[in-house]
């Protein structure tokens, strides 16, 4: 029964206050007397039975053996607590709230205690206030309207004579201050910063810190009181003062300049900390107040950034800290870590930088995982400052890729990508490929796209580039980002003919292997790329003429076996028959197979292809069925069209900086750059009224953009990338939702043409529209949305262009939509916007409610070191965007 309340270490209290061990004045005895007294009096004044004590409730709940049992105990108690709240009974309110807080921690609803907390706060008793404020911090936050009711109580208590009541109020304000509350109470807090009482001063300083966080405009009023905080001796006041100043400096460049003059003060405080002898009060394993040291080092970093004079003033002390700090314990490394960050960020002497990098090198070899993690983290932050110094640790970093700890692997991966350059690309990629193969799913997407980018940037040769891409395809499997498929196809399509043959042969080996081992489902992007390439260059794959091409790969292995035409088709059949492959992949395979019919020459293979294509005429999936029927027509009534229609694709243009979307400038008529297949098609239907496909003939201003890929996958089959070369594909595209061509037609002669070139007015899906909406035009920054419809909603492409004279860095575009919409933002093309440069970012919006789109945007960037924030609301989207 008598569970000890607590074993306080009373030594912190002066003996005259230590009443606990005075036998004549034993608290436990007194409590017993009180309880008995209250229980005696209670039935008269209170109708309720004595409530369960907190301790007993916790015991009961812990004794519950099942979740249901626990729930019933809690429900019973909650019902009881609610009824006491109704009774306006104040005797047990404090205890009941305490119980409610415990129940709340278990995850049960406790919102009905909010108002009771306010009543407790308003009580004159300290016990009530203490529990009341605790409850307020746990149960209230700025999302509840009730929280505004607390403002008045806080204001009263901030003026209390008891320092602990003021302390409670400040603590609560610091935890749950909303912007409204911050505005109402800022002046009280400012007054308390100037209080002579250190206990109140430090709390008020942190309150001010929170207030500025919430409402940056309120900073001005705290400025005068803040500077004097640094003249205090009390470490609590010092550390909160430094925290407050740090926040202010990060808040505005003007304040940052204002505080430049405190650098000598900070240096002096830091020096005193290091040089002062042992002080038991602030010592942590031999280091004097590491908390304060770190805060000061961080503030110095902010003050010294881009400022030679301030940096000069702190060079000495940083060197002193870096050399004199004891490193055998975590606390010493904590300080070194912060020191290194400061050295790298300010304009420090080069010898100091060498010292810092060496410290990181030591960190990297440390046995403690935590230290290794911060080393990697810091190297990543400094790699742009001094790449060559970080390069020296490359082997260690690559070693960290194999670490069992995901946190360390993630850092090592990012650092590895930062270290890749033209000289080490081969060896780095080899390591990263091994990493990619073994890494968790969450890394694969990021790692593979970073590898594709690095390969593109530093590829020592075309062959190496292709080899690397194919390996990434093989190892990243389905985690590969969609655009990698199209960009790989583009690279293959522009390669030299013998390189294309090499690609076909290399991909054939991978395709055949995954078809045989049955893991093609996990590598669908690979299957797609392989299908496209083999379809295009199948003749080179089987031809003896390609024997001259060396198939020795990066590892010096040549495992290519030239397949027979029939074996290729057998493998295709196996894949097409598989139930696991996605429709998209099968579409690639089916069209590729049709293409092979014009590449392969032997009769048995032709017959096989025809049989397979025919079977798709009755495929359960409408899209594949359609394709099957159309392609089999190319064997029957339109056999003469087949060779021309299935001719090799022309070289595709690179997608440029933004792989997700085309450049919006009007291109020259796409049909001109398209191959003669398109011309042949156009010739066939010249003069025909059914040619209403505006993409090519009537609307050269709006080139087909590849943001509609999801709605017309088939388009990719022919073009891979629907850039300018997509013209014939666009023509084919119109029949995506056309009725199956096998339907009885009045003019069977016109069937194929109907299927292929049906008038969009009748059967085609609504074509996408490209509208552009200007969202922001300010200070030379122009933000425009290119609006188009996509399969599942709308797709907006944000294009930010700058005519400002300076480069905008840390460019961040954010957008918000009303709750009925769903917004999916792709990653931006970059964060740095040079003059005349451009950043694009794709936003996918789905709108189940079909209401008009409203979009709120926020753009932030740094220009010449000062941050700029712009906001705007965009309402003028075309109303027909969602239909």
């Amino acid at each position: 029964m008598a569970y000890p309340m607590y074993e306080v270490d009373w030594s912190v209290l002066p003996p005259e206050q230590n009443r606990r061990f005075n036998p004549a004045f034993n608290i436990a005895t007194i409590k017993q007397v009180v309880n008995e007294a209250i229980e005696r009096v209670a039935p008269v004044s209170v109708r309720m039975p004595t409530p369960t004590r907190l301790r007993d409730l916790i015991r009961q709940i812990r004794a519950a053996r099942t979740a249901a049992e626990e729930r019933s105990v809690v429900n019973k108690e909650c019902a009881y607590i609610r009824s006491t709240f109704r009774e306006e009974d104040s005797v047990w309110r404090c205890r009941n709230i305490a119980k409610l807080l415990y129940i709340h921690m278990l995850g049960y609803p406790a919102h009905f205690g909010q108002l009771e907390c306010l009543k407790l706060i308003a009580s004159p008793r300290f016990t009530d206030k203490r529990v009341g404020y605790l409850g307020a911090m746990l149960l209230l936050d700025e999302r509840q309207d009730v929280h505004l009711l607390i403002t008045n109580c806080l204001k009263n208590d901030l003026n209390s004579n008891t320092q602990f009541v003021v302390g409670l109020a400040l603590c609560t304000l610091g935890a749950i201050a909303s912007p409204e509350m911050a505005r109402d109470l800022a002046s009280e807090v400012e007054r308390l910063i100037k209080s002579p009482n250190a206990y109140i001063k430090k709390k008020a300083a942190l309150c001010a810190f929170r207030i500025i966080r919430r409402v940056p405009d309120l900073m001005e009023m705290f400025l005068p009181a803040t500077r004097s905080l640094l003249t205090e001796k009390n470490h609590g006041v010092l550390i909160t003062g430094v925290t407050l100043i740090t926040e202010m400096c990060e808040n505005s460049p003007d304040t940052l300049n204002h505080f430049k003059k405190i650098v000598p003060n900070l240096v002096r405080i830091l020096k005193n900390l290091i040089l002062a002898g042992y002080s038991p009060e602030h010592d942590v394993s031999g280091v004097s107040d590491p908390f304060l040291q770190v805060k000061i080092l961080r503030l110095l970093r902010i003050l010294g950034k881009n400022d030679a004079e301030a940096s000069e003033a702190m060079n000495d002390i940083l060197a002193q800290v870096a050399t004199n700090t004891e490193t055998s314990k975590n606390v010493g490394n904590t300080i070194l870590y912060e020191t290194v960050l400061s050295i790298m960020d300010i304009k420090s002497e080069s010898s100091l930088r060498v010292l810092a990098i060496n410290i990181l090198g030591r960190f990297l070899l440390n046995n403690d995982k935590n230290i290794r993690y911060v080393a990697l983290n810091t190297l990543l932050r400094t790699v742009h400052v001094d790449t060559s110094a970080v390069q020296r640790h490359r082997t260690t970093i690559l070693e960290c890729l194999k670490d069992p700890d995901v946190s360390i692997r993630r850092r090592a991966m990012e650092l590895s990508f930062a270290l890749i350059n033209g000289q080490n690309i081969r060896s780095m990629m080899k390591e990263l490929l091994t990493f990619l193969e073994r890494s968790d799913a969450e890394f694969k997407a990021h790692c593979s796209s970073a590898m594709v980018l690095a390969a593109e940037r530093y590829a020592p040769s075309n062959k190496w580039h292709l080899d690397t891409l194919f390996r990434v395809l093989l190892k990243a499997g389905n985690y590969l980002r969609d655009d990698t498929v199209s960009s790989t196809l583009q690279i293959v399509s522009v390669a030299a003919p013998e390189r294309q043959a090499y690609a076909a042969m290399r991909l054939w080996t991978s395709l055949e292997r995954s078809a045989v081992s049955g893991d093609a489902t996990e590598k669908q992007p690979l299957v797609q790329v392989a299908a496209w390439t083999i379809g295009e260059y199948g003749d080179l794959l089987v031809s003896e003429a390609s024997n001259a091409i060396s198939m020795v790969d990066e590892d010096g292995v040549d495992d290519f076996v030239r397949p027979s035409e029939e074996y290729v088709i057998d493998v295709y059949q196996k894949l097409l028959w598989s139930t696991q492959l996605s429709i998209n992949t099968k579409e690639y395979l089916l069209l590729s197979l049709a293409k092979l019919s014009t590449r392969f020459t032997t009769q048995p293979s032709q017959d096989k292809i025809r049989v397979i294509i025919d079977t798709f005429g009755s495929h359960i999936h409408i899209e594949l069925q359609q394709r099957g029927v159309e392609l089999s027509q190319l064997y029957r009534n339109y056999a003469h069209l087949r060779p021309a229609l299935l001719e090799r694709m022309p070289a595709m243009e690179a997608a440029g900086g933004a792989p997700a979307l085309d450049e919006p400038e009007p291109e020259p008529q796409p049909a001109h750059t398209a191959d003669h297949v398109a011309d042949a098609l156009l010739d066939l239907i010249i003069g025909s009224d059914s040619l209403t496909n505006g993409d090519i003939e009537h609307n050269p201003q709006a080139p087909p953009s590849n943001n509609n890929t999801s709605s017309n996958d088939i388009l990719d089959l022919l073009s891979g990338l629907d850039l300018s070369g997509a013209a014939p594909a666009s023509l084919l595209n119109n029949n995506v939702s056309a009725p199956p061509a096998s339907q009885p037609q009045p003019q069977p002669q016109a069937m194929l043409l109907d299927g292929l070139f049906a008038s969009p007015a009748v059967t085609a899906p609504p074509t996408q529209e490209l509208a552009s909406v200007t969202a922001l035009d300010k200070n030379g920054l122009l933000v425009v949305f290119l609006v188009s419809r996509a399969a599942a909603g709308a797709e907006l492409t944000m294009r930010a262009t700058s005519t400002a004279p300076h480069t905008l860095t840390d460019f961040l575009f954010q957008a918000a939509v009303p709750r009925t919409f769903q917004l999916d933002m792709m990653s931006p093309s970059g964060t740095v916007l040079p003059p005349q440069g451009e950043i694009t970012q794709v936003l996918k919006i789905t709108n189940p409610s079909r209401t008009a789109l409203r979009l709120r945007i926020r753009v932030s960037y740094n220009v010449e070191g000062s941050p700029v924030l712009e906001q705007a609301e965009v309402n003028n989207f075309p109303p027909e965007l969602f239909y």
């Binding site: 912190v12 301790r55 304060l292």
Partner: protein, 157 residues
């Protein structure tokens, strides 16, 4: 700045939660649930840091309890470990070799101690002595009130 601090047991039971950012209750519960699962799944040899959503989780296990802080990107992870350790030391001093049961049965005291150490997500006091002194003085204030009320109740005052 610390965004929140959670204490939970090896069985995944929440023992203490302190939020310095305003989230709806539902989100808090979701974060708590996900985080507890993620942290408990990590092996003891792994490092104490975890990049999780947009925060950095710094956690450390003391006996059967996990102390877990969500920090912002700029914060010093190693210092957060020191902060956790400082809190544990304070609990230990206050309860006298603290154990999980102390924190379960006296959770409000654990909150009071934390509130004297951290305010608004930032450290407010670097001296252990000062924190304990403030707590003890407030406990005393409460006890004085109890005594007062008792004496009043039995008619001695």
């Amino acid at each position: 700045m610390m965004q929140f601090m959670l204490l939970f047991s090896r069985q995944g039971k929440l023992r203490l939660q302190k939020w310095y950012v305003a989230h709806p209750d539902k989100l808090k519960k979701k974060i708590t649930r996900e985080l507890i699962t993620t942290v408990l799944a990590r092996k003891p040899k792994m490092c104490s840091f975890l990049e999780w959503k947009d925060v950095k989780i710094v956690y450390k296990r003391y006996a059967s309890l996990y102390f877990c802080c969500a920090m912002e990107q700029e914060d010093n992870e190693l210092l957060t470990l020191e902060l956790i350790h400082r809190y544990v030391e304070l609990l230990d001093k206050y309860f006298g070799s603290v154990c999980e049961l102390d924190i379960i049965f006296n959770f409000e005291k654990a909150y009071f101690i934390l509130d004297e150490l951290v305010l608004g997500g930032e450290l407010q006091e670097t001296s252990k002595k000062n924190v304990l002194k403030a707590i003890a003085a407030q406990d005393l204030l409460q006890e004085d009130e109890t005594v007062d009320a008792a004496l009043r109740e039995v008619g001695l005052l």
